[in-house]
């Protein structure tokens, strides 16, 4: 039995589950559950009203169905919308009071929460199912005036900031999953960088879904005030379970004048087994607003996990001279499906955007790049450059490119390029001739294919991501 378990874990080393007592909201989606979530988090009334308003819209909204990967109907009444380790009914004051099992879980995932074992100077906010369990390096950050905490804490301690910015980029009138998130979001990270501050370390959130039948709805809000800079990382894993689990997060970024936000994701949710059983549905809404002049938002993502990935991290370039960037590697293997890309909406003058997307599909998987570049009539002298390349391995998988290009301004330029190909036999032959076996050769070539994007990641992440790229494609050649 144990051996079998170990065998399974070989494929997805984060697939273990933590046996911890949970405290859950009643199953199902209704007003009472929302009131329950709101009351347990001791939220102010305006937020409850906001949630209920969103919920009323969810009731009339329909799920979108234009996406390429179709999925079986989700029974929203059969989900738990709130799950927290029992020891969290009263939130522990410090790490010493934290359930040792949780600390162990994060150690296993390679995220030591003990500050003694400094993780190369990265501040981490760890989210376990519906709650944030710990945030490290708080003192160092507070010194600089940086606020980095869970969003529940921010609602209590910095209600003005939350009230001002929550929903300003993803309003409650948005699409189905975003609105659902607004109604039932549980926890997530909150970051505020005061004017003129350059955040001295990488900020990071680590998401973990543990309980079964649970949807994770986290909400992240990052505000970079005038002239500030922050680099933020996000990582995710989940145990291996046979049923599909829903993850519908909302991420809002706001960059004011001269501010820069760099948001990196390494998404490694459980992708399901070889036959496509189980896995996470990753339906995430990520949107950044370059509100001020000369602001910049840059998204970097490495998507290797999830049964279905469906997300479009977007930039709204509202401020003049603002810049949006999107770097993405998406890898699908076995029966995984991904429909991902970005939206660059140019509103301000002299705005620039750049999209580099690399898709790799193997096995029976299906991968779609879907993107929008929209230059509005007032957006003078704007430019966009898009490059999306796909690599196919085998003829059971698919790679698709669906760009939407709208140019309404004569002084703006849009350039778009896309290619689809396979790894050439010459390249493989050359590598093998130099003594690499076929898997090493593929891994090397793929890493070269992805290099433009991997370069954008912070150092520690880049190493991890490089390994992940190799692992995700194991067994897809030969």
């Amino acid at each position: 039995m144990r051996e079998k378990e170990l065998e399974k874990l070989k494929d997805y080393k984060y697939g273990f589950s933590t046996d911890i007592e949970n405290f859950k909201a009643p199953k199902g989606l209704n007003e009472d559950v929302i009131k329950f979530i709101s009351s347990i988090k001791k939220e102010p009334k305006w937020l409850l009203d906001w949630r209920l308003k969103a919920y009323n819209r969810v009731k009339v909204l329909k799920e979108p169905n234009w996406q390429k990967p179709k999925y079986p109907k989700i029974d929203y009444q059969d989900l738990y919308y709130y799950s927290a380790p029992k020891s969290f009914k009263e939130k522990p004051k410090s790490l010493d009071e934290l359930d040792p099992k949780l600390i162990e879980t994060y150690n296993k995932l390679g995220i030591p929460l003990n500050e003694q074992k400094k993780l190369n100077g990265i501040a981490v906010d760890a989210v376990f199912d519906s709650v944030s369990v710990a945030t490290t390096f708080k003192d160092t950050l507070t010194e600089k005036g940086i606020i980095f905490c869970s969003i529940s804490e921010a609602i209590q301690k910095h209600p003005d900031l939350v009230k001002k910015y929550l929903g300003s980029v993803i309003p409650i009138t948005d699409h189905y999953f975003a609105t659902l998130n607004s109604a039932v979001f549980t926890d997530g990270s909150f970051v505020y960088i005061p004017p003129g501050v350059r955040c001295p370390m990488e900020l990071s959130t680590y998401f973990r879904i543990n309980a079964s039948d649970t949807g994770q709805f986290e909400r992240t809000l990052i505000i970079a005030d005038k002239g500030s800079y922050v680099s933020y990382l996000e990582g995710c894993t989940a145990p291996m379970r046979d049923e599909n689990q829903l993850h519908a997060a909302n991420v809002e970024l706001i960059a004011l004048d001269d501010a820069e936000i760099k948001y990196s994701t390494v998404q490694n949710w459980y992708p399901g087994d070889k036959d496509g059983k189980g896995g996470i549905y990753n339906f995430v809404t990520k949107r950044g607003l370059c509100k001020g002049k000369n602001s910049k938002i840059s998204w970097t993502q490495v998507e290797t996990g999830s049964a279905i990935t469906w997300k479009y991290p977007s930039c709204i370039l509202q401020g003049d001279n603002s810049v949006g960037e999107f770097y993405s590697i998406a890898i699908t293997n076995n029966h995984q499906k991904a429909d991902t890309g970005t939206k660059m909406i140019h509103l301000g003058k002299n705005t620039k955007s750049k999209i580099i997307s690399k898709g790799i599909s193997a096995g029976f998987s299906d991968m779609t790049y879907r993107g929008l570049v929209d230059i509005s009539p007032k957006s003078e002298n704007s430019s966009n450059y898009t490059q999306c390349d796909s690599l196919l391995m085998g003829n059971k998988c698919g790679a698709h490119t669906i760009p939407y290009i709208k140019n309404k301004n004569a002084n703006s330029n849009i350039a778009h390029e896309a290619t689809t190909s396979k790894i050439s036999d010459e390249q493989l032959y050359y590598c093998q001739q130099r003594g690499l076996n076929s898997e090493e050769a593929v891994s090397l070539i793929v890493n070269g294919f992805c290099k433009e994007v991997l370069q954008q990641l912070p150092m520690e992440f880049a190493v991890e991501a490089q390994k992940l790229v190799g692992i995700s494609l194991e067994g897809s050649v030969g």
Partner: protein, 416 residues
């Protein structure tokens, strides 16, 4: 839609349809009634809401046309620059057939075809066409016959009609080793009509089809043309669009490459001004190994005009060694114009070479400066750049006399 119901009944009553045809027409009429004109909620019509455009430009549309009186074919309609065969449709009515320069035993034109083909894609305009066409034509080019002169189909409307829906359907069959050069020439005097043309092409082994659609002359009509092409092995299709004259035009091409070594070429020019809105939508399906497709579309947009290009390359998992290419470019001459593109790839085979590119922007100021420093006026420099930009597409045309004709019609000098 009330109009449609009564006009459809009139069409049924005043024609001698067989029982089969009636049930086919009823089915299509029902489909059309259910769906109505496509609007922006349909993915394929996202950039061109024809329902809204018809409402705005025409308003109430008449679907029934009296087909009794003969229209005279004026001499000035016909082109004299090139020797050709003719089919002249005036207000949707066939007025002249002329295949005098061809071998009569090798080419057949039939006008009594019943049109009971299967529904190929979900498209309510094809339903509309099927429901209302009272004649379905067929042109057959027999085995081993290469047509000598091009066939020009004149699409003419005169000022007797307005707010009228005109439907036309022709099936083309090219047998083994045959070839056809076909020019569709739009010559309209009538205004504010909705013209809906549906062509089916069946290309047998080694056959060659060249289709040039020329919408050059200013007119107020709304036009939809659908080319459905099925290609067997080693066949070649070449389609060229000069999209310029109509108020609104959408050209759609749906091409199945079903035989090995078959290839499809789609080239198009949009040259628009005065709030015109034109679209080309191409879908090429690579279904077997070793097929090739090439698409090149260029736009020059002025004065509130808008062009749309939706191109899709589909590669089946069987279709290894596919070569697919798409390029769309646009020059936005002034502030008020808009260019939309959706170049799509849907690929299920790994040993393929597919790429697409799209670029849009303004005229290059540096090039204009260069030319002006060589003594050209601003206007001349601009014209030279635009013509040079567009002529690349015209030069893709493989038939020399027709290339010359099109340059001539477009007003380009031969030096280009």
């Amino acid at each position: 839609m009330e109009n449609f119901k009564t006009d459809f009944e009139k069409t049924l009553k005043n024609n001698n349809f067989s029982e089969k045809e009636i049930s086919f027409k009823n089915f299509n009429a029902k489909e059309f009634l259910n769906q109505g004109f496509p609007n922006r909620k349909h993915e394929d019509w996202k950039f061109s809401d024809i329902n809204q455009i018809i409402n705005k430009e025409i308003g109430e549309l008449k679907f029934y046309s009296e087909q009794s009186e003969k229209n005279r074919v004026d001499k000035d309609i016909l082109l004299n620059q090139i020797e050709h065969n003719k089919l002249v449709f005036i207000n949707g009515q066939l007025e002249k057939i002329d295949f005098n320069s061809e071998d009569k035993s090798k080419i057949e034109f039939l006008d009594n075809q019943n049109s009971l083909d299967e529904q190929l894609v979900e498209n309510s305009l094809i339903n509309l066409n099927n429901a209302l066409t009272n004649k379905s034509y067929k042109l057959l080019v027999k085995k081993n016959y290469q047509i000598k002169n091009p066939l020009i189909i004149y699409h003419v409307s005169n000022n007797k009609i307005t707010s009228q829906n005109i439907n036309l359907k022709i099936n083309f069959e090219l047998e083994e080793n045959s070839s056809l050069k076909l020019i569709d020439l739009v010559k309209d005097k009538g205004n504010k009509n909705f013209i809906n043309i549906f062509y089916n092409f069946s290309l047998e082994k080694n056959s060659i089809l060249k289709n040039y659609k020329i919408d050059q002359f200013e007119n107020d009509n709304i036009r939809y043309m659908f080319n459905n092409i099925k290609q067997s092995s080693n066949s070649v299709s070449e389609t060229f669009y000069l999209s310029k004259g109509s108020t609104f035009s959408k050209n759609e091409i749906f091409c199945d490459l079903k035989g090995e070594q078959s290839s499809a070429f789609v080239n198009g020019i949009f040259s628009l001004n005065k709030s015109k809105h034109h679209e080309i939508k191409a879908k090429i399906n690579h279904l077997v190994e070793n097929t090739k497709s090439y698409q090149l579309v260029k736009s020059v947009l002025e004065n509130k005009s808008r062009s749309v290009y939706q191109g899709k390359i589909y590669v089946d998992s069987k279709a290894q060694k596919t070569d697919g290419y798409q390029l769309s470019k646009a020059i936005l001459v002034d502030e008020t114009t808009e260019f939309n593109a959706k170049p799509e790839l849907e690929i299920y085979a790994d040993d393929v070479k597919c790429s697409h590119g799209s670029a849009s922007g303004s005229l290059d100021e540096n090039s204009i400066f260069y030319l002006m420093s060589r003594g050209l006026s601003y206007k001349e420099a601009r014209e030279l750049l635009i013509n040079g930009f567009l002529v690349e597409v015209i030069n893709q045309i493989t038939d020399e006399p027709i290339k010359k004709l099109i340059k001539n019609l477009y007003g380009l000098k031969n030096e280009y």
